[in-house]
């Protein structure tokens, strides 16, 4: 790391309660993992917002390009048979 800076950018995910998925809540700057965890607790959970924290270096996240890049998600649109509504069920059949 360079000499005077604001640290590395980390992305923070919080689990509201056991059984729920972790959700992105924001990001923060810190110099190492421990500091990132301390800061995440101070910054994002002062009001019982959750009981689980995940932190990832922003640089380590692999993300798709923007929503403008429609072609990337194109293949899923023409495979309508992935959705239950694609299939016909005879009248009177239940619980399927």
């Amino acid at each position: 790391m360079e000499k005077d800076n604001q640290g590395i950018l980390w992305e923070v995910f919080i689990q509201v309660k056991a059984g729920r998925p972790f959700k992105h809540v924001g990001s923060l700057h810190a110099y190492d993992k421990e500091m990132a965890m301390q800061s995440a607790r101070d910054l994002f959970t002062r009001r019982n917002e959750g009981n689980g924290i995940w932190i990832v270096k922003a640089d380590d996240i692999i993300s798709s390009q923007s929503v403008d890049d429609e072609a990337f998600f194109d293949p899923s649109n023409d495979k309508v048979y992935r959705h239950p509504t694609f299939y016909e069920v005879p009248d009177g059949v239940k619980h399927i």
Binding site: N5, Q6, S27, L28, H29, Y31, Q65, S66, V67
Partner: protein, 313 residues
Amino acid sequence: MEDAKKLEAFQAKIDADIKIEPKDWMPEKYRQTLIRQISQHAHSEVIGMQPEGNWLTRAPSLRSKKILMAKIQDEAGHGLYLYCAAETLGVKREQFLEWLHEGKAKYSSVFNYPTLTWADIGAIGWLVDGAAIVNQVSLQGTSYGPYSRAMVKICMEESFHQRQGYEIMVTLANGTDEQKEMAQDALNRWWWPSIMMFGPHDADSAHSNQSLKWKIKRESNDELRQKFIDKTVEQGLHIGLTFPDPDLKWNEEKGHYDFGAIDWDEFWNVVKGYGAGNKKRLAHHKEAHEVGSWVREAAIAYANKKNNIQKSA
């Protein structure tokens, strides 16, 4: 040609209320406007800690001291949310601080006024935070995703701030004659700066039209100002205080309060750096940053050392 097409698609997204995310294409002016606005907002949260910090050691009870600490801690957090939102636009945190220290970036002028008495802490919470909340509630609907998400979190946390300020005003207004006078004096001094927080009138606002079209702002300066005045006047009258504006009266026909002319010379004077506290606020921020440099250096050295140990192990 390509840009015109992109611009059209961009506007179509905005019109359909689809949020813009960091990696999406955006017009350069949209990006620049957001960089200016979000960083200014972040600086305001952080500089805003100073006038309140002034009363921390002299809060009249342990209860009020704890509350004020919690509020100031919130402001620091809000600054951090906003810096992170601004950084998604491709500017580094170090750069934002540099622009602030060089005077190239602004913060809300209202924080250049001094906090002379404990009642000012009440007036700040009630009026300054009150005005900020009106603005921020509206900004939850802003078109830029990271800014909008920061606003939602901030609004959730900020809801106690205005009540703590109002509670101080209520207590003083129900106290001795001297205390009531303190409350009235604070209201007299903070009322106009608060309603100036919404910025120039729509007709004179340099950035307003384009910002509304791009849904960076959802309501105009004058609309937000009117909302704040309509909400706040009743709260003041309820506790027996008066407002320092002889033209302030309910307009039955419009369903709004009429109010007097705003002293824009005063506003621009403070914006341009000649307010009571401009120099002090900025100098304090710079000093804190410089004095704190050893902490950053130590943290970097520690992180490097641990990385090296991990590598050699």
